[in-house]
């Protein structure tokens, strides 16, 4: 009598029905309750346009800051750093980038500028002419909070290669004036000293402000706890 009941068609259909409902319920629950922010596609556009998910630590840095002090990767730790490349004999692109970053600085919301404050660093790729003292005077004209740094070519290359920046010297004219071609992107280093984001040209103040705020938030939620 039992075997009749357990193998009868209606009973089998019922079992199948329950299994199907169970599967559908499970699928529904998984889709509804799985956190969307654990997937890469869930990065907001402000972040996704600039973020480097597997950012690598920038290491081996031996530059000189505007006070003539050594600048190593230890000084990236604990704060966000904006880096951009140029030279003081640059009339157009570099002053424009400095102005962009000054405007970004002024527009950052309070919580994005709270201690530790981000540092804005102008890296000169023209160490022959741009001494630390000159760099300090130059960058401070745009914002006294900004910092300059430079180093000889071999030390510069250690930094530039790790953040995908290029530079090259044009031949000088008869007065000895030469220009330096250089990458114009703005690079973001995270508080663990990793190459974390890039803002490419053409630079827009709002894009950088919104991008940085979104990146900070995203980083705090997803990266900070990682090694």
């Amino acid at each position: 009598m039992n075997s009749d009941k357990t193998t009868s068609l209606p009973f089998v259909l019922l079992l199948l029905g329950i299994t199907l409902v169970g599967l559908l319920a499970g699928l529904f629950a998984w889709k509804t309750f799985s956190s969307p922010t654990t997937t890469a596609q869930a990065m907001p556009p402000d972040v996704a346009n600039h973020y480097i998910p597997d950012g690598r630590p920038v290491v081996g840095i031996q530059m000189t800051d505007q006070d003539g002090q050594p600048f190593t990767e230890a000084r990236f730790k604990g704060k966000w750093s904006f880096l951009f490349f140029g030279f003081t004999h640059c009339p157009d692109v570099c002053p424009t980038t400095l102005l962009i970053l000054k405007t970004v600085w002024d527009k950052l919301p309070a919580e994005a500028r709270q201690a530790p404050e981000p540092q804005m660093i102008f890296v000169s790729v023209d160490p022959e002419r741009d001494t630390p003292a000159l760099l300090k005077s130059y960058t401070h004209f745009y914002n006294p909070e900004f910092m300059g740094m430079t180093g000889p070519a071999d030390k510069l290359d250690i930094l530039t290669t790790q953040v995908g920046a290029l530079y090259g010297y044009e031949d000088g004219d008869k007065e000895g004036e030469y220009t330096v071609n250089h990458s114009a992107q703005i690079v973001l280093i995270d508080p663990k000293g990793r190459f974390r984001a890039v803002f490419t040209t053409p630079h827009q103040v709002d894009e950088i402000v919104n991008g940085f705020v979104a990146i900070r938030d995203y980083y705090a939620k997803h990266q900070e706890s990682r090694k």
């Binding site: 004999h89 640059c90 002053p95 130059y138 103040v205």
Partner: protein, 151 residues
């Protein structure tokens, strides 16, 4: 027609920042962003319109206020910025050359003295149609590019 032109010329000459009509070229909105005092190179931005009936070529640019002046163009491709020097610039009749951030600019080498906001500096374009002199005003360094209508 002549009377109107003369009146226009007088009117133009009264503008504080010289819009100069000479030969076929008209220069307007010439300005120099204030730069750090230590800067050895500054930029000049302006609009040059050819109101004449034949092409005009600018060969050299000079000023008593700068050691040398060159015409350059910023070209940024794939995030890499270069400056291309233009040793001459020809403006066709009815056309204009706009010098602005991220594009053509005058590269002003070796400022001969300190330059502060509101200073007026005299610059001369040596052209195929004779010299064209104008005054460029030193203004606060800003991102605002629209100085062409400010005087």
């Amino acid at each position: 027609m002549k009377k109107v032109s003369l009146l226009s010329l007088c009117f133009l000459l009264t503008w504080p920042v010289g819009q100069t009509v000479a030969a076929g070229l008209a220069v307007s909105g010439a300005w120099i962003p204030e730069a750090p005092p230590v800067a050895k190179v500054m930029a000049g931005y302006l609009t040059i319109k050819n109101n004449g009936s034949k092409p005009v070529t600018i060969k050299t640019v000079k000023s008593p206020d700068f050691g040398a002046i060159e015409m350059h163009e910023t070209v940024t491709e794939d995030g890499f910025s270069k400056m291309i020097r233009h040793t001459s610039l020809t403006i066709e009749p009815g056309k204009q050359a706009v010098f602005q951030h991220g594009g053509m600019h005058l590269m002003l080498f070796r400022p001969q003295h300190a330059m502060k906001q509101n200073d007026l500096l005299t610059i001369t374009l040596e052209t195929s149609d004779g010299p064209v002199s104008f005054q460029a005003k030193v203004k606060p360094a800003t991102l605002d590019e629209d100085h062409s209508h400010q005087h």
